[in-house]
Symmetry: C2
Subunit: 353 residues, 2 copies
């Protein structure tokens, strides 16, 4: 009845948002839900040509210099894991976002949100690890911030790092630069970061332990750029894994991609853990790997350069960019069948970085 409807509508008590109008963990997964949030809330409000390119870093010009700028918050749980901790990860993640734009990383900011009751000793170990990672990557932390929230107000410690780098003349990498015929290069084996975190969280043990691959990739990128091969874009397959990184490039460049599953390096322990846990390694996070989309004539030159770097020794050409089915990534399995490699649709592993 109309009169009843009217009474309800004028009632001033706030109506709780329905479940499908609230943030869920999958919105932080790096997959389709993350993309939804970006396209429904962030881009309509904040969109500008730079932000809307959706690269891992923004490039802007000041006088004659081209600078790269990026930001990343780290909420990884637990704070310490095999192969690193939230401090080293916060450096590697931001250095890599700069490097994926071809930038030489120069400066970082570090902003800490601490939970009341956090032991100084824990904080000290994280800060030292952050310092060591910054030192190894050749970047300086030049500005910072600390906030404290009451017990229960956050989970131990969150860190935001933002970074600034300088992009060499002539370097123009962007997710929208992939062209049909380009080769897809991957710098090493996948899934190690995600499995290391999950194993630590769940108390799983492997015969040979799986460590996070967390590492700064800027010097590998520098070698690749020095090879003078024609590189069109690069991305580090973090949240959402290799599959999400490639789907983003395919969508942004309006191209298809065909992968060869046998060419994708995967450690036996990671394969086993994924099988046991029902995870697909293509969707498991990496923190020290990159994919590069390279012109066909340059693929072997760039691959050789990658293999000369300790972090790229196991690099492989894993597939080809095609002009068919823009936005679609497919993979030939070892059985000779073809499967579609979608974006991650929800959260496989929350709080992985």
């Amino acid at each position: 009845m109309p009169s009843e409807t009217k009474t309800i509508a004028s009632f001033s008590c706030p109506v709780p948002a329905p479940a499908d109008k609230r943030v869920v963990l999958g919105h932080g997964s790096g997959g389709t839900l993350s993309s939804d949030l970006l396209h429904k809330i962030f881009l309509p409000a904040l969109g500008n040509p730079t932000l809307s390119r959706l690269d891992d870093q923004a490039i802007f010009r000041v006088n004659r210099s081209r600078l790269a700028f990026t930001t990343d918050s780290f909420v990884v749980k637990p704070l310490f894991f095999p192969g690193g901790n939230i401090g080293s990860l916060a450096v590697h993640g931001t250095v890599n976002d700069l490097a994926m734009g071809g930038a030489k990383p120069l400066y970082l900011s570090a902003a800490f949100i601490l939970e009341e009751g956090l032991p100084f000793e824990t904080l000290g170990r994280v800060v030292e690890s952050l310092r060591d990672a910054a030192g190894e990557a050749g970047v300086e932390v030049i500005t910072g911030d600390t906030k404290v929230v009451e017990k229960g107000g956050c989970d131990g410690m969150f860190i935001n790092t933002s970074g600034i780098g300088v992009v060499p003349e002539g370097v123009r990498l962007s997710a929208n630069q992939a062209r049909p015929g380009d080769r897809i290069l991957l710098s090493g084996s996948i899934g190690e970061h995600g499995i290391a975190i999950l194993a630590q969280r769940e108390g799983l043990e492997f015969e040979s332990p799986v460590e996070s691959d967390s590492a700064a990739l800027h010097s590998l990128v520098a070698l690749m750029l020095e090879s003078c091969g024609e590189i069109h874009c690069m991305r580090d397959p973090t949240r959402g894994g290799l599959s999400s990184a490639l789907n983003e490039i395919a969508a942004s460049s309006r191209v298809g991609m065909t992968l060869d599953e046998r060419a994708i390096p995967l450690r036996e322990e990671v394969r086993g853990a994924c099988e046991m846990l029902g995870l697909d390694p293509l969707y498991v996070a990496n923190e020290g790997k990159l994919v590069a989309i390279v012109a066909p004539d340059s693929a072997e030159i760039v691959l050789a350069a990658m293999r000369r770097h300790p972090l790229g020794r196991k690099s492989q050409i894993i597939g080809t960019v095609t002009g068919d089915d823009p936005g679609l990534v497919t993979m030939r399995t070892p059985l000779g069948t073809t499967r579609i490699v979608d974006m991650l649709s929800s959260d496989q592993l929350p709080r992985i970085c």
Copy 2:
């Protein structure tokens, strides 16, 4: 007995850190505990000449440009308050940190940490407010990040903004530039942000409501710089209030300061609320005020410039820098007595920004 001690020492269960070796809320207050954390943990690990200057922003050079870089995380509770919300605050706070170095703000990053269950509608309102504040301040948000943590993993929403600005030729402002004889200028009445937050949090009501003074100060700063007065340093007295900002400058410049309490603008409602709540307005946070340390000959010129700006209409000269008692800030009260104005020693108001 030695043997017992040995048994206990070799027991592998982790010993909880004693209460005095843990983070407490006061470490985020902007007062002496914040300073302790900085000097005991962050600076020994990360210290470099730029970070150790402890200005609100780092200045670095790329080719012929001098750029400013700053970061700030926002954990304000509640998310919405009279005069603003976490979105507008996240823009104003970072724009002001750039402006205090004399920089023209250019670009921001925005990194969100969201709690599972947050209504899209709440997020949308915050993002629109952030967009509007950025638009008004003439800065572009060009890079961002979103993380989601499980329910209880954070408190609704935290935002980090980092900012980049360009410092005009000839401008050199730093907390270590105050000189005996300099005048201390304040751009308006104090304590409004802190009281607005507290009133909202505690459900207090005033006859005329107190709103946060949250505002972007870069155009006020631009007017001050155009006056060609000799400005030595500027700071926005946020966490820890006017007192902490002045104590930091006094310590950094190794000078004393004498304030005149009668000259410090204070709204009647804020005075009343502070008396009722047992707070000292000198320690209550501001988000749209600045203090400037100005050469004596330039004080009147700079003051006149400030008063021409809507955010500086109530500007006052509130004191003088002295060569006596380096690091000590004192204040003449209306009764003619003199009191010491220390740094805030603990937390008056946690999660104020």
